[in-house]
């Protein structure tokens, strides 16, 4: 995917020069291996900073809400779906955006590579089409990208952007996933005691830093419920009741809106897979409403729509 960088810079230059947009939101190369930094490019300055590789894992849709300018934005499949969610939820207007689509072959998970390296440090990481080459003090490994993808990418059914104005490469083949929710089913089958134990253990290391919430494009409320202080709804300590309340309520706020982009899991400094909560709700939205978030800019999320001909009597 590294070759997309050149095409991204080329398109960005063109749309800035043609004044189609006033700024570009993309990624720049990180200061350490396997990291990238979201960057805002204005008026053609620093255009050469725009960069792409298999570690552009944050969701750039997160930087859109409430912006007024005309914006060029780089979007993988999941990012484009979150842009669609923003458009549906009136956080940004379609005509404000020039979406530079990136057909995505999956993002590589730096944690999985670090785990493989045990406590050794990757000093230089490069990539080819299929491989990641990791070099450090006295070692060099060539790893298959496919073996180190982020968990969400291994389940992704929408690798190509769903809306875009230009595209940086040929569309990639969408994956045929026989059962994208097998992991959720395993949890569904647990008894309630076991489930409680499972989730309590999942979040036991949470420090309430809110990186998961803040990396999420869906979390744009002006004041999050955990930050309400008058009255205060949730305690501030790391008491497990409050931590559980935060995670469960946050997940429910994402029901029918989450694209499983994985930004929450990637942002967590304590390696907590908070996606296990949101994925259950994604599965429910699919099972109950045949809805996957962000596939259209017309369809509202199932939990904020009302149809007079709803098949359930109680709601009519």
């Amino acid at each position: 995917m590294i070759e997309y960088g050149e095409k991204i810079r080329e398109i960005a230059k063109k749309i800035l020069e043609e004044k189609k947009v006033g700024l570009i939101i993309g990624f720049k190369k990180g200061t350490i291996p396997m990291m990238t930094e979201p960057v805002l490019i204005k008026d053609g300055q620093n255009l050469d900073q725009l960069y792409w590789d298999s570690f552009c894992n944050m969701n750039l849709a997160n930087y859109l809400p409430k912006r007024e300018e005309k914006i060029g934005i780089i979007a993988k499949g999941c990012d484009s779906r979150n842009i669609a969610v923003h458009i549906v939820e009136n956080q940004i207007k379609r005509e404000q955006l020039y979406i530079i689509g990136v057909p995505c072959k999956g993002m590589v998970d730096r944690r999985k590579i670090n785990y493989f390296l045990a406590d050794k440090e990757a000093r230089e990481v490069t990539e080819s089409d299929e491989d990641i080459i990791v070099k450090g003090e006295g070692f060099e490994h060539t790893l298959k990208k496919g073996d180190y993808l982020q968990d969400n990418c291994t389940k992704c059914m929408h690798r190509n952007p769903v809306i875009y104005d230009d595209i940086v490469g040929d569309l990639v083949e969408e994956r045929e996933e026989p059962d994208p929710y097998d992991d959720v089913k395993d949890i569904e089958e647990m008894g309630s005691e076991e489930k409680w134990g499972f989730f309590s253990n999942l979040i036991k290391d949470c420090t309430r830093c809110y990186a998961c919430r803040n990396a999420c494009p869906l979390c744009y409320c002006p004041t999050c419920f955990v930050d309400e202080s008058d009255p205060q709804w949730v305690g501030k300590s790391i008491d497990s009741t409050d931590t559980v309340t935060f995670h469960i309520l946050r997940a429910y706020h994402c029901a029918g809106r989450c694209t499983d982009c994985g930004a929450c899991q990637q942002a967590c400094p304590m390696d907590i897979n908070v996606r296990l909560l949101t994925r259950k709700l994604n599965k429910d939205a699919l099972d109950l409403y045949n809805h996957e978030a962000g596939l259209s800019i017309e369809e509202r999320p199932p939990l904020d729509t009302y149809k007079p001909d709803d098949y359930d009597e109680f709601i009519r």
Binding site: E37, M58, D119, E121, C209, Y210, R213, A215, K236, S237
Partner: protein
Amino acid sequence: MSDKIIKKEELQDFLKALKKAHEVFVPAKEKDFYRFNPLTDENKGDLNFTNTRLSPKSLLFPQSERIFEYTLDEESSDAHIVKESSKDYPSTVIIGIRPCDAKAMRLVDVNFNNPEFKDPWWVKHLESMTFIGLGCNEPCSTCFCTSVGCGPFNEEGLDVLLFDLGENFLARALTPKGEELLKQGGVDKDANSGLKKKADELKIEAENKISSHVPTDKLKEKKVDDLFNAPFWDDIAFACINCGTCTFLCPTCWCFDVQDEITKKQGDRIRNWDSCMFPLFTLHASGHNPRPEKVQRVRQRFMHKLKYYVDKYNNGVACVGCGRCVKSCPVNIDIREVFSLMNDL
């Protein structure tokens, strides 16, 4: 100052001996990262680690700590009287703390333990602890301790410093508390001059391995207003998602919030870590927020560490170069770049 030798195969005996009289914490791997956990029969510790994900500050300054309690039961003669929560401060030994984190304790001490103010909980925790540090033979590429008045074998804040010499640890006692502890642990074999020399060489070698350097020389002379109004803050802050990762992982971030929590008639006053990244951190009761935008909060974090602290305490920067925030920031905001921008403005 005395240099003793601990054979690696005798390390567990040393730890066991210490455990008879103290609580002992050791680095242990859980999930994919290390943390300081109590020494037990199951957890023997693992000194082949780089550093812990979270800094060890939580051992002295827990993320949530009950400090006062009270009852709202009108029948009780103590109703509404706030009392300090009783707490044990058992003698505790921290094994394998890295020199950067030990220096960080000294730095936080400037805030919590000074002639003007004494934070009783911090002071009592600190007094109950003995720090046996482990020098860094292999610093990471994100370590920049030598630029900020620290180093891979820095002694500040430690009672004993361990040098990993392969088959042996050389244990350098730095305080009377450290001397006493080695004696208690049955460590009495003096290091010969050859091993002492090897330890000193190891230190220089490790310092030379630090590949990351930041400039600090001009921070003091800069005008606060010039830095405050510098043109680079918008660029630095753009990517920031305003989470608390940097502040919670940082060994020198000391800010806290105090909250009352009431269960039925029992009230607890709890001190919790807070973060200048959060909008709530500065929200006034009036509803006014002096730092409503993320750029102001990002600026505050760096100005506090690299300018306000420098000016107030004349003690260098409020950063020990551990690199945790560099490694764990989800959007790669790198304090080393901010050092350069601020210093070279």
